[in-house]
Symmetry: C2
Subunit: 530 residues, 2 copies
Amino acid sequence: MDMLWNGWGDPAKAAPLPDTVTGLLRDLLGVKPHTTPAPALEDIRLPEPTADPAALKSLAEAVGGADHVRTDAESRIRHTRGKSTPDLLRLRTGDVSDVPQAVVLPASHDEVLTVLKTCAAHGLAVVPFGGGTSVVGGLAPERRAFVALDLRRMNGVLDLDPVSRTAVLQPGLRAPEAEALLAERGFTLGHFPQSFEWATIGGFAAARSSGQASAGYGRFDEMVLGLTLATPEGTIETGRAPRSAAGPDLRQLILGSEGAFGVITSVTVRIRPLPEARIYEGWRFASFEEGAAALRRLAQDGPRPTVLRLSDETETLIGLAQPDAIGAGLARSDAGCQAIAGYEGTAEETAQRREQAAAVLRAAGGTLLGAEPGERWAHGRYSAPYLRDALLDAGAFAETLETAAFWSRIPALYAAVRTALTDTLTETGTPPLVMCHISHVYENGASLYFTVVSAQGEDAVAHWTRAKHAANDAVLAAGGTISHHHGVGTDHRDWYVKEAGELGIEALRAVKRRLDPEGLLNPGVLLPTD
Amino acid sequence: MDMLWNGWGDPAKAAPLPDTVTGLLRDLLGVKPHTTPAPALEDIRLPEPTADPAALKSLAEAVGGADHVRTDAESRIRHTRGKSTPDLLRLRTGDVSDVPQAVVLPASHDEVLTVLKTCAAHGLAVVPFGGGTSVVGGLAPERRAFVALDLRRMNGVLDLDPVSRTAVLQPGLRAPEAEALLAERGFTLGHFPQSFEWATIGGFAAARSSGQASAGYGRFDEMVLGLTLATPEGTIETGRAPRSAAGPDLRQLILGSEGAFGVITSVTVRIRPLPEARIYEGWRFASFEEGAAALRRLAQDGPRPTVLRLSDETETLIGLAQPDAIGAGLARSDAGCQAIAGYEGTAEETAQRREQAAAVLRAAGGTLLGAEPGERWAHGRYSAPYLRDALLDAGAFAETLETAAFWSRIPALYAAVRTALTDTLTETGTPPLVMCHISHVYENGASLYFTVVSAQGEDAVAHWTRAKHAANDAVLAAGGTISHHHGVGTDHRDWYVKEAGELGIEALRAVKRRLDPEGLLNPGVLLPTD
């Protein structure tokens, strides 16, 4: 099944907006319904392809036939950009300026190597394409002719070692299929990001994804034990041991490289036994500060839940369908801040860990709300992007951004980003709704994930771009990283350059020049083009 | 205090050989006492320095005066190579061919930058020098004039953030001093490698050290949250958050770079509260295989002890002072394999974890031996290198090597390395004693640490070099990494090149050329020179 071409996910799962939200949009945010309908897929007019027919013929030979080189309009449109809100809004106005020349579907590592050589010979850039779920411009290279390298045919489990608890996965394997194949053998990967239904193993590795159960299972980059990378200059194979002192960790050079150094063609991951028990519970804290301190205690001293997240006051009210309390300045609600703590594992270990974590949360001021909020969260854990579609349909703007920092910087970072978003989005007269949660915790810090809802206004993309740039500036000024788990892409690139520093970027450019001397791979994503 | 110039550590801690070992050396290994005494420090004749006096003058200006540029014979000899057995044997025959031109002692990051520029101007190579404890040729650059950059003046704690539990440490800080300074504030780093008494923070980072409590506190590279690197081309600063999706992890490019990319001038580490309780206990397993399976269960399913190690049959007998049982083919001993499990933390958590881990070990066939073996291990945890000095004095040869692999490869790797060492060292007629332990465990694999004792023979260095090369070949053939925690150096470099692969090495050479275009930094260590 394909995703909605100009929205998120499975069209059958489209969710109507709750009445409370419709009221909020109208009364608090001044959202006005669209007056012109968005174009249908078949109405989109594509720019003429400029690729040499000989190039397409060679590519077809490289991947086992013309069936695997798609040049039809629908395939090309479905590989145009990713799933950020500006990406979707542009498609909804018929802007397909980032469309690939063709979609190429290789079936093996060797086919990928041949595709890269063929593209080099014909001057075509290459954008590796997994689930297409990037929300940071990871699939929109700087303007030049390119092909989308869709890895969906490389979607198998190549090996599973139950003694070492490792599995070798192909990059085009989507997360649900990976979980299903591992479950047949009694294992799980434990990686459940919001993009779970659509995103792929290769994409998780290329963009350093982090899932909702990262407190228990770790980030994706922590699960990776080995990688194979196909580059225009050949192959890099990494990972002979879980840890090594043999030089710099090449795995960590490939992780996060976003297709700029090569195409990830296999990923060796750690796997864990399927949990016997899963418990998710809600907690209430009086304030975000109090809740964050409680999360920090568990992250630092344990025991560590498998899922641990905390919504700020505004997000809590929206989640509880009390958005009218926001208009009243929060005074009408005593909802405080809601946290979710989840535990997965063997029945005995889970019960013990839950009891001990609950004691810590209670001592830190938490009130147990029981299983209902936890189950509600688990049920809706992948639904936010569907809700975004409904908001966009209703004429509202909705987008997210995220960062991470050391614990001591979290309060100032939270305030700075909220202020930046609120100030810039209020400039045009419509105050936004800014919500935040902590969804990933570490001994030394945490992530902050912001959701913004506002009116679309005259030019929603330009409006948001200003706000996003201000938020990026605020993140760096407050000591945060430009991305905790969305990645760099073209959207974060210029701030990433500041974060990594001139010489750090130069070191990475040196790697890119060696592996991709003609600059074919995802040009302008991650690193500025020369 | 300085280390013994041609041996290990504090001369006052020199340990005489136990009688049982003396008997073993004579009867089992055919060790003969030396007939010629090793030269004294003052008898060593150094090659004439070739460095331009103008270079030394500029260096003195760079580091605040001539006091901090040492050219006396003792300083130069004390910075000649590291502490591998071949290093020590060469010194004991008066071979100082790897002596630096001078020892330069900078006091700050900026001084390091200036030293690098000065050395570039004068064509001098630079070998960063922390504790001088490398056992893999990490301080012996390919032959050309070089200065040792001794970082001992940069030995402070620059910052400590008790909320985030982070500390910024200078590279020349030795581990005991780091622990003492952190303990004043109630914290520990938890990094206790065998080199603990002498090694430095910068060295731990540069060579990816791993300590004896790695099961609980993690490897050193897992403790590092940020790094500052001084290179001939400027500075790289990393680490704005515990984890990030902002591109490749530059920290992991610097960790393990062994001075080849730059000089680490500060390290931000995670710190933990000082433990209230420390319990170390001994366990007995019938075989190495049974013990390894027990360790794997704890590593994979928990609860994880803080210290977890297992000696094979031979190492167990030596540790129990029953070496005569080895000569009798192990048949006279029912010692089996001894394991140590240690627990550190709060009193309550430690007691609970110990109880649960003990249940797992018992279910896996283990017999608890009580606290005595654990305390004995803890008491002697840094003493093996002192024992090596005594063995060398007695005319024996003793050296170690280590590797790591995924669990399923461990049995074949263990057998292959033992066979390689035994076969090559028996060639000259003297069968060696080969012992092994597992001292670092992960969910997906473990380390193997081998100790070899044999007669020195006619040319002990050449003898060992053959055995070591055979062991390196065996490690790679059996799927292990060429080093789990000693590093690459010149000793492992050619096997490291095979492990990382041609293109992986080329990527790292591209980084080196960008950061160190004149190839000043530790030439030939880590990467082959151009």
